[in-house]
């Protein structure tokens, strides 16, 4: 029993570690990619104890230290309890979702097969949606508790936006569930290991291209970043729902946005791009379509899979940051039109067509 508890703890900690490391890398991209896109050098001024040699890396260390040491101000007329709870309510659901995202297949260690997934939940995909819907509370409560009109406007915009895009997101996921016939993310990742015509990995993007587009757009909207940053929109609402936050609490709101970016990347990877699958890599090693087979120990296979998963997630994190620095912000009516008149009908049609195809094929793909 103690071994089981230790393994379960280690898996959850590793999932969180992976998520937070990629988040740190995301901040690095945010600085560097934005500088490249805007043709400037980017942050290079931080010197720690007079040492500025590492440039941007220094900045990455200096940033959180600065946030943690700043004065934490609670406005006099605010609701103190809810003002305190809101940043936690924003960050916790985003981090908790990583518990069900698989980061590898199985690892054979000391006579046990360890499933490389934080928590094995047979309703994993619904858990993702549940946590996404709880994430709204951080925004709403922050907006209300600050007792500031900009904050309140940001909070109201945020809740309307997140509720609207959750609908399209959930319907896009139904297409995926129809394809794989399961709600368990690990099963979905495993099902993508099959080969079509003996050489093409059967990744979800081949079966559900529309669901991929809808899910990615809705996911970016859920993370409340440009072009969907209406709740924040600094040119109209100062900083929107977190105008009245400073120091570590402000950091928590920024972190939860970035964690959501990584989360969307991880979910897109798991649902549509094979998750931890490396093409032609099975549990006992590579089996290439031209007949060559390379046997590998379980540890090496698991390492390759975790690396592949991390690289795919990093790629989609990078994609979202490029989108963020390329597009302008939507107007509010454009945002609602895209959500309700664009994504919703498309995802409904996707569900209908997917269900019809599954029915004609006689079974899940």
């Amino acid at each position: 029993m103690p071994a089981d508890v230790a393994i379960a703890t280690a898996k959850v900690l590793f999932a969180l570690f992976l998520a937070l490391q990629i988040m740190g890398l995301g901040v690095f991209f945010e600085r560097k990619v934005s500088a490249l896109i805007q043709d400037r050098i980017g942050a290079n001024r931080a010197a720690i104890f007079g040492f500025a040699g590492l440039g941007l890396v220094n900045t990455l260390i200096a940033d959180p230290i600065k946030f943690l040491l700043k004065e934490d101000i609670t406005p006099a007329q605010s609701d103190r309890l809810l003002h305190f709870i809101a940043p936690c309510a924003s960050l916790v659901p985003a981090l908790a979702t990583f518990a069900v995202v698989p980061f590898g297949d199985v690892l054979a260690l000391g006579g046990r097969l360890i499933n490389l997934q934080g928590a094995e939940l047979n309703v994993g995909l619904l858990f993702v949606l549940a946590m996404a819907s709880l994430g709204v509370y951080g925004v709403v409560l922050a907006g209300w508790a600050s007792n500031n009109r900009w904050s309140l406007l940001g909070g109201i915009r945020g809740s309307a936006q997140m509720i609207s895009y959750e609908v399209a997101m959930g319907l896009a996921l139904i297409g995926v569930v129809l394809t794989y016939n399961t709600l368990d993310l690990q099963e979905i990742a495993r099902a993508q290991g099959r080969l079509l015509w003996g050489w093409l990995p059967a990744w979800g993007i081949l079966y559900q291209p529309l669901a991929f587009v809808v899910f990615l757009v809705a996911g970016i909207a859920e993370s409340k970043r440009i072009p969907f940053d209406l709740p924040e929109s600094e040119s109209e609402l100062v900083s929107g729902y977190f105008t009245e936050y400073s120091g570590a609490k402000h950091l928590m709101f920024m972190m939860s946005d970035f964690v959501e970016v990584v989360l969307v990347a991880a979910l897109v990877t798991t649902l549509f791009f094979g998750g931890w699958q490396v093409p032609y890599l099975a549990r006992d090693g590579f089996h290439f379509p031209w007949g060559t087979a390379v046997a590998l120990p379980s540890l090496v296979v698991a390492l390759l899979q975790v690396t592949a998963f991390a690289l795919k997630v990093i790629a989609f994190t990078w994609l979202q940051i490029v989108i963020r620095w390329t597009l302008p912000r939507f107007r509010y009516d454009q945002l609602m039109r895209l959500g309700w008149k664009g994504l919703l009908p498309v995802s409904l049609a996707n569900v209908m067509v997917s269900a019809l195809l599954v029915l004609l094929a006689g079974r899940g793909a």
């Binding site: 819907s133 509370y137 309140l152 509720i163």
Partner: protein, 164 residues
């Protein structure tokens, strides 16, 4: 679920539920309602009903109460000027109703066989088993409920557009 965990959760959920009705601020009441619904879903998990637990969070905690909060914030409802005071008849009805419900629950509990719950059938509470029941044995009530919801939506849109 072990007894201490159950007791702790039970105390928390009752406290949260009391906060919903007793707190003067509507925003706090709504937040306490979220906590109540979330803790109830923990009970569902303990009863091997993971699907019901997750649906509880998605539908009630995640969607319905968010709309409550949205409306409270939009109308900027703060604490009411004067709280309506309940007259003696209202209190009497409330206390009588409470005692009645407690008596009913107690009577129902007496019929439940004592400890040693039967083993759960294979696949209990999982999505496939629940969906199969829902779309075979209970398909008519299920479809009727969806029609009812549709009628409610059409009615709401109709009422809203007539004003405008």
């Amino acid at each position: 679920m072990t007894a201490p965990v159950f007791l702790l959760l039970a105390v928390l959920v009752v406290a949260a539920a009391l906060t919903v009705v007793a707190h003067p601020s509507p925003v706090y009441s709504a937040c306490a309602l979220v906590v109540t619904l979330f803790l109830l879903s923990v009970f569902f998990v303990a009863l091997d009903a993971q699907l019901v637990a997750v649906l509880q969070v998605i539908v009630y905690a995640g969607a319905i109460v968010v709309l409550f909060l949205f409306v409270i914030m939009l109308l900027n409802l703060t604490q009411p000027e004067s709280r309506p005071t309940a007259g003696v008849p209202v209190v009497a009805v409330a206390v009588g109703g409470g005692i009645g419900i407690a008596a009913l629950v107690a009577a129902a509990l007496r019929r439940v066989p004592p400890a040693g719950a039967p083993a759960l059938p294979e696949g209990f509470g999982d999505t496939a088993a629940l969906a199969r029941r829902l779309f075979t044995a209970y398909v008519l009530p299920f479809e009727l409920t969806s029609v009812l919801l549709l009628v409610a939506i059409v009615g709401a849109v109709g009422l809203a557009s007539r004003k405008g």
